[in-house]
Symmetry: C2
Subunit: 269 residues, 2 copies
């Protein structure tokens, strides 16, 4: 069995597990249903979680449980790093590190030799190895990151994302119609200081009873978000991306400002 730690996690793991219809696996998206389960369980832990950005820990424990930590967003761009990553199976990707998601390039840190061997075997059988062109490109990107003291991209990305979050937060704080997730300040082991939130996505909730489809409400204001149900959640929620290009983000801020100011004007009438 394969399970995901959070009902809010992206549905890709479910779709993959279902699609391949493997004889030995099936997917359960509600961890509450797992507790009585007798067989082996693999739990996906998405930390920070997509879409809400919260750090997560495995929920299931025991000898029959293994965890895969999806650390795609575990960069100081998006979250405080409370401790160095040290789980048994951790998967990473260059997508959200440098923004080169098109390369489809990732890596894993794995402590158990047997699991490592299985992963290599999977890659060999399913794809006969990873494209050498892509590996070369990724190597160049990692070399560029390591130039200087190797911290520049992290400072830049944290400042950019933190500033964006602050702008967004300021608009939403003057709204009663919309709320976003609250991420508390936390000590960051990487920057060696307490730091505020800078998540990749805003997880917007439409608070009005009649706004049961939040993505649609936003869409009418020409703001594109993903429906909550795409993340196993309610459509009263919608996900806004904060990792687009600067002009996209500026447009988002502009249109949100208009949308919220209309709400305030209507209330003061």
């Amino acid at each position: 069995m394969v399970a995901a730690a959070s009902p809010n996690t992206i549905q890709n793991y479910k779709q993959q597990t279902d699609f391949f219809e493997m004889a030995r696996f099936h997917f359960m998206d509600d961890l509450k249903n797992v507790s009585n389960y007798k067989s082996e369980v693999i739990e996906f832990v998405t930390s920070p979680n997509n879409p809400d950005g919260f750090l997560k820990k495995a929920v299931l424990k025991g000898n029959s449980v293994k965890s895969i930590y999806d650390y795609a967003y575990y960069w100081s761009h998006f979250t405080a790093i409370p401790a160095p990553a040290d789980e048994d199976v951790m998967i990473f990707s260059i997508s959200k590190l440098t923004g080169h998601a098109g390369g489809r390039f990732g890596w894993a840190l794995v402590k158990d030799k047997q699991i490592y061997d299985n992963m290599i075997r999977y890659i060999c059988l399913a794809e006969m190895g990873v494209s050498r062109d892509t590996q070369l490109r990724a190597l160049q990107l990692l070399r560029a990151i390591l130039q200087g003291n190797g911290k520049e991209i992290f400072r830049f990305a944290y400042k950019t994302m933190g500033d964006r979050w602050e702008q967004l937060n300021q608009i939403i704080s003057s709204s009663t119609r919309f709320t976003i997730q609250e991420i508390p300040p936390q000590f960051c082991n990487f920057f060696q200081q307490v730091r505020g939130p800078s998540p990749a996505y805003a997880w917007v909730k439409c608070e009005r009873k009649e706004d049961s489809n939040c993505a649609e409400v936003l869409s009418r204001a020409k703001i594109t978000g993903r429906r909550g149900s795409m993340f196993g959640s309610d459509d009263r929620y919608a996900r806004l991306s904060l990792i687009r290009r600067q002009d996209d983000f500026n447009l988002l801020i502009h249109r949100l400002t208009v949308l919220v100011s209309e709400e305030n004007r209507a209330e003061s009438m």
Copy 2:
């Protein structure tokens, strides 16, 4: 069920089918066992076949049978093209077309919209799309091929492979210990003329009773081949690659010449 048209076909299809242990598929490598099978069958047809280079047609017929033509070697480099490729599902790769196997880039021509949709869905779920870096590289390669009249690479590759086969054939023809496959001349629709063989691999048979492991016999003469059992065949056979770099090929010819001349010297003593 998934089946392969030739017991000599490369074992990758079997390994993939077995590894994923999909609830709906299992692999059968001997088509003789398939005839009584009641369920749906997918037949892999590798044409030209790896390792022996022969053109193949699907063996199984009927409403419950679908064929996937693996045309990785269906280039005039390696075979006469008796007719334009026109099967329902045909898979191609840039690996053996330009030699850029490291890109892991291929494509498919598919007539049925439903099958096309399923393939796209597989690619999205298993890999979230193909690396854009690799796609760009492949595009550049295809553009280079199309320069001029677009036939230059095919003439070059056919001449190179044909010359190599002739050199190899000449050595083997003076041996009684080793034989290789015989590929008859055939009319080529692409070159519009009858042409001789130019396969990617020599499928060597060790004819002496005691030479039951042909790859080992060759290995003692410092010639690297793949054991016949890797292709579902007997170890009395071994596969020699003729698509390596020119200096590798020269070394192969040199060492084979020595090996065969020793055999002839021994016989004349």
